[in-house]
């Protein structure tokens, strides 16, 4: 009986918990922006341990507007587009990363300097919210061995 009560308690917790409680955020960071740069972006890894959910909005004090965006690499042409939401399927890791999904800061009110901590609040489709503090990083590609060398031009 004791166990049943415990199981019931755990189950009800999982069902009653909102998206903000079920979502685990890993390695969040924002991209440094200064010297006339008006826009920037935040990235993170998200695991949703609960029911399928979605991020539908985001806020931050650093910019006038925050939107959800993605990039499409169309044969080397980068096409950035606004998206209505970022889906978070149960149990999967969704990566917001350079060159892909990102939380976009438009019309920055201040410089984002390396080492700063900034605020971002994620808003989920069930109305719940998650407030984050993220560090500002300078973003560049990681060392990837010998991959991705420049292509030599053909001269005749």
């Amino acid at each position: 009986m004791k166990y049943l009560a415990l199981i019931w308690l755990l189950l009800s917790q999982a069902v009653l918990a909102d998206a903000a409680q079920n979502v685990v955020i890993d390695k969040p960071f924002a991209r440094a922006a200064m010297q006339q740069q008006k826009n920037s972006a935040a990235f993170m890894q998200i695991i949703n341990q609960g029911q399928p959910a979605a991020i539908v909005n985001a806020r931050s004090s650093v910019s006038e507007i925050v939107e959800l965006h993605t990039h499409i690499n169309d044969n080397g042409v980068m096409r950035m587009r606004k998206i209505p939401q970022i889906d978070l399927p149960h149990g999967q890791m969704v990566k917001l990363k350079p060159g892909g999904l990102h939380v976009m800061f438009i019309k920055l009110k201040r410089d984002l300097n390396v080492g700063d901590m900034i605020d971002v609040t994620l808003v989920f489709d069930d109305g719940s919210e998650k407030a984050l503090e993220l560090p500002v990083h300078k973003v560049m590609m990681k060392h990837k061995g010998m991959s991705g060398h420049g292509k030599k031009m053909m001269h005749h």
């Binding site: 440094a32 920037s40 990102h102 991705g148 005749h156």
Partner: protein, 197 residues
């Protein structure tokens, strides 16, 4: 025996036509700087006045086309390039000229660009110009760019663009085409080859 003869015939025939095509290409490329992908001389506007590629003869020039409102793709590329140059010994780093060309002259003035590029390195140069002049340089370097309105976004519009770093040798000849997401150490290796050459 017969099949061998036929094979020779086809090898000769194919080589002949391949030669014709290559010769055409060669003559065209020599004749004009405007053949797509050929790179070559250009003059665009910096805050300090007109700047030409030939002003940097004797240096290795690294060129990237993008725009200042770009939150992610351009900064990643510019940091990769900046880091690649920083990994060189100082006397070699001074022989590399990084150039950022904005394809968004509506929003990016030469003055704003000159401040923007200094966020990456002191000798970075920022250029832009009228659309027809940018179009001409974009064609030379096979850059595709397009202004795309985003009605639902506070961005207003974005500039879709090719994300490539072009490496030009000391003589002004386009030598390397560095695709997006190439890490600094690889760009550094290409720069070293051009600095040695």
């Amino acid at each position: 025996m017969k099949t061998t003869k036929a094979l020779y015939f086809w090898i000769i025939a194919v080589s002949f036509f391949a030669g014709l095509v290559l010769a055409q290409y060669y003559l065209k490329q020599r004749g004009s700087d405007l053949i797509p992908g050929a790179g070559g001389e250009f003059t665009l506007q910096a805050a300090s006045g007109p700047v030409s590629l030939s002003d940097y003869r004797g240096k290795v020039v690294a060129i990237y086309f993008g725009y200042m409102s770009c939150p992610d793709i351009c900064p990643t590329s510019l940091w990769n390039l900046t880091e690649a140059v920083k990994q060189l010994p100082p006397e070699q780093a001074r022989q590399v000229q990084p150039v950022f060309i904005s394809v968004d002259p509506e929003r990016d003035s030469p003055e704003a660009l000159s401040i923007f590029v200094k966020g990456y390195s002191d000798n970075f140069v920022g250029l832009t110009d009228t659309k027809p002049n940018i179009d001409k340089v974009a064609r030379q370097y096979s850059v595709i760019y397009e202004k795309v309105p985003l009605k639902d976004s506070a961005m207003g519009y974005v500039m879709d663009h090719t994300s490539v770093i072009y490496l030009v040798d000391r003589r002004g000849v386009l030598q390397y085409y560095v695709p997006h997401d190439t890490p600094p150490n690889s760009i550094n290796a290409d720069l070293r080859k051009l600095l040695a050459g």
